[in-house]
Amino acid sequence: MLRYSATKLIMKQITDQPVVSNLGPTSDELWHASKRDRNFYTYGSMGLCSSIALGMAVSIDQKVIALEGDGSTLMNLGSLGTVGRIMPDNLIIVVWDNEKWAQTGYQASHTAYGTDLESVALATGFKKTSTVSNEEDLDLIFAQALEEPGPWYIVAKIQEQKYLPVAPVEPEATMHRFRSTFVDEEKRIG
């Protein structure tokens, strides 16, 4: 399964739910797949994609989707325990697991040596988990995740591909555009 194609598959099912994407190709491919106001691209703060999504999930009733990576998840494993403690039923974490730190030169990550992120999520209390390795299974499980209460943890095993061009989006503009869909700027808080 290739990440860009899988991203497009997921975005076909999305309506107006917020989507937070991990830094690098995950954010770039999300932008190429679907240019929408409720995409929250990240540019740094590696490991915090699902924490940002958790902060959204505890604040609104809608489903919130995080598009994570295996390397970034390994950097912030404690965040899974935080989800398990709070149990937000509207959070969906999808991990694009390429078993690599691809952007830094394709070095093998811990998931290439047996770390099973789905098992970690289960152990911290996630209600619904799955590991998928083809688009048909991803399509089915993601549709179920949008319908049924979670928190959901979906590990999608992917292969790396040639990167698409870097998305021409800036952090401040992303933040303003995204937040404006939730807050009337006329009555902006603060």
Binding site: G44, S45, L48, A57, G190
Partner: protein, 168 residues
């Protein structure tokens, strides 16, 4: 009102309802008050940078949020602040309990405690240090207002002179 009640009261007046934190014995004086008030939603994070991410996500969907942490944990959160809050202009009031101040018993706490405000200076972020009850409400409410008007994180630091510190 004591110092902790004053801070809880200002947070409520400012409509800051999402509080992400990592426990600390002095911060507990505030977070236990917040925990007793259903207005607040407390999220106990496993690490301080995670708390920054949670608070930032809450802000992105229109809620106001704050982070409470110790100076040691501020060290854990620097990259999150530098690569998320500053470039994205996400204003989060950071309440930091300074270790390594008067009466510190643990040498391991000294360097990070002492480095916290210089690091905030290097990041270009304003910080205010609370050492006594004098005009506390004015100082905290004013700092929070500045945080939102400038669209930048800002630190409000606690010292043992304010709350008595931690004893060995």
């Amino acid at each position: 009102m004591d110092w902790a009640q004053t801070i809880a009261s200002v947070l409520k007046k400012e409509n800051i309802s999402i509080i992400a934190y990592v426990p600390d014995v002095n911060i507990h004086q505030v977070t236990k008050l917040l925990d007793e008030d259903p207005f607040f939603q407390l999220i106990s994070a496993s690490r301080e940078e995670e708390a920054i991410g949670i608070a930032s996500g809450a802000y992105a969907v229109g809620r106001k949020s704050a982070v409470f942490m110790q100076s040691s944990g501020f060290g854990n959160s620097i990259n999150a602040i530098a690569s998320l809050n500053i470039p994205s202009r996400i204003p989060i009031p950071l309440f930091i309990n300074l270790r390594g101040e008067h009466g510190e018993f643990n040498i391991a706490q000294v360097t990070m405690g002492r480095s916290t405000r210089p690091i905030l200076d290097v990041l270009g972020l304003p910080h205010y240090t609370l050492e006594n009850d004098h005009e506390l409400e004015k100082k905290v409410a004013g700092a929070i207002k500045l945080c939102y008007s400038s669209h930048e994180p800002l630190a409000i630091c606690f010292t043992p002179l304010l709350h008595g510190g931690k004893n060995a």
